[in-house]
């Protein structure tokens, strides 16, 4: 089954929150996961990142890009990471222009705060059943079970509308 880009991004972000990521880092992960899967990169990288919470790339990579931005006093800055597929996806998910180049075993990220990122064409995504279930199960940890009181008052509406 193919899913829309927005579905995948939203579900990945919710899964990260369900797995314990703070909301901003979870949102970054959602955007990065979409870029990752759009580029046909392995789901396993995303699974590993979710499993690494409360540490790992979901926490570290947004900070890496924040550090790059802080260093971009004239608008541009570079930073290095050990070659890691997921960092490319995070770079592609930035609002500002971010390029990655691999040289001698490490990956260089160049950020340009004077240019917006290129618009990526988002494509529909087919998730494996196992990965989809993992995301769904993690995202479900955020859901609050319904009670009689919440069903009646939580949304604030009545139950029939035959007027």
């Amino acid at each position: 089954m193919s899913r829309s880009a927005n579905e995948v991004m939203t579900l990945a972000a919710k899964a990260a929150r369900g797995a314990g990521a703070p909301p901003a880092q979870a949102a970054h992960f959602g955007r990065a996961a979409l870029c990752h899967l759009s580029a046909d990169r392995p789901e396993a990288n995303l699974t590993a990142a979710l499993d690494a919470l409360p540490g790992g790339p979901i926490i570290a990579f947004p900070r890496f890009f924040a550090q790059l931005a802080e260093r971009a006093v004239d608008g541009r800055a570079q930073g290095k990471q050990a070659t890691e597929t997921l960092i490319k996806s995070y770079a592609e998910a930035q609002a500002f222009d971010c390029k990655t180049t691999v040289t001698s075993g490490s990956l260089t990220v160049t950020m340009d705060l004077t240019k917006p990122a290129e618009r990526h064409t988002l494509k529909r995504i087919v998730l494996s059943d196992a990965f989809f279930c993992k995301l769904e199960n993690l995202a479900a940890k955020l859901l609050v079970p319904e009670s009689d009181a919440s069903r009646l008052s939580g949304a604030g509406a009545g139950l029939t509308d035959n007027d």
Binding site: P23, R63, A66, F96, A155, T160
Partner: protein, 547 residues
Amino acid sequence: MKDYISPPQTELRSPDEVMRLTRMGSMFPTRLSFLRTLMRRLSAERVKVTRPVWQMDADGFGHAVYSLTLGGHTYSLVAISTDLPPELRTDRVIATAWDSAYVLYDGVPNAAEIARIVASAPKQEAARYTEKDLVLSRANKSVRLFAHVTESLRAGRQPDTDMIRDIGYLMRTTAVYGNGKFGIADRQVIDTRPGLEGPFAAEMLTVWLIRHFTHELAEHVGGAPLDPALKRYLGIGNSTGLGMAPFLVNHPVLLNNWMLVRETALARVRAVEHLDADQQANLSRLATRAAQHLQEWNVPDPQHQARIVALRADWETLCAGFDWSRPFALEHAMALAQPLAPDAQELVASLIIEPFGDLVDGLADCMGDPFGAFAKPIAGTQALKTWIERDFDWALTPDYDAQDQCGQFWYVSEAKAEPRLGLRFSESGAELESPLDIGRRIKALHHALGKADVAVSECLAQHPEHALAVERVEMAERYPYAEIRDNLIATSCLPIDMLRCKLSFFGAAKFDPKSDRWTRITLCQGAPLATDLQTNADDWWLPVFAA
């Protein structure tokens, strides 16, 4: 590239004044509302609506397809009407069946695609959709009015005008889904297409076509045509609950752009020094129309009805004081409203923007968010602290430990994965709270910033939980209207104010709150019919009953 000189403008009203729930909950539609922009576009292109499929039984159950071409692309509304038992008719998102279901389709569907949509759309969230499906919606009948209209037409007479005026729609939508929900097309598929670039343009097109369908369905069941003047007044209802409220918090750049455009439009017209005779006459005519609109706006809720009654009185006072012949008459009109309630102030703002399409309509192109947030980093934690103290007084003021300042919490329900609002001290689930507590988070960040000046990223290494607050503070300089400057978890927070703000940008009028958490509204009331697009397509601000 063509040079463009911005028209003169006054200072913008400050975000501190504008971005308050009370004011947001007093907003009216303007000519920059999305439906108005869409209708101007449809009219400019002289769009023709065709009906290639109409397979409806005598009771009005079956399906239909409507098609139109806009900006070089053809779109079709597939409408399915079903026989719904009364006990299943609810406006709430927990419903599982509706009187009618709709898909806005990219192109003209063939028989197989129609069959697919007819089978899936009535299931709404329980089915899956494809990239050819742009918008998914459903609507329930106004049972009273639909029955009355069809019975009247069958009896060879037009329906009672009082009922038409008092209800104003034959059906009301209870959800209009776009942007990839349940597998439909992502917004990116259409957001560069002429006519659909603006926010919610595809959704508004869907709503307008649904209204068209409801008219034709009633005429089909009634066996006779409705008076066109009555049809023009029959809009499409909408029932909106809490699901819409978090959108404004979760899309700060969009919120900023909508509000900034509206405030810029207001600032441009306030700077107009002299009004010619036509402009003066137009403003007087519109002010009179607004008075009639207020008279026709009646709701069952006593508290909101009292607000409308008070606004009628304020409006009478204002109309007596408007002097469109004096210099800076529009600035003067705003000044007249200043001592009055926000309802009156916002109605004046909406009125004085209305006649000045040449000054403001181009601003509608700036209401989208094609790029995302461009917030540059703040240099160090002491600068961050200074920014918070400069721009976020509203967030620092509340004592979030006090029960009334944190008495509510936003959450997502397991039953329907929809946003809800709970009472923190009497309901369970607060540990799963959604992060809509922006003010509390910013105050917590401020508290966590020590005296040492270190890089913000270094601070976040120790306190990753503050990253959201840092991002929102960083946005403040570039996006000054991005934040609702109120405590959204206070016991006093009324989500209905957020709903009214968003719905006014859609073009909604006749707000009919059913509680502080959901409201009925009317969309497209007075909007051109499909047959009206050649003429007079843009003069329907605050429509009144003309029959």
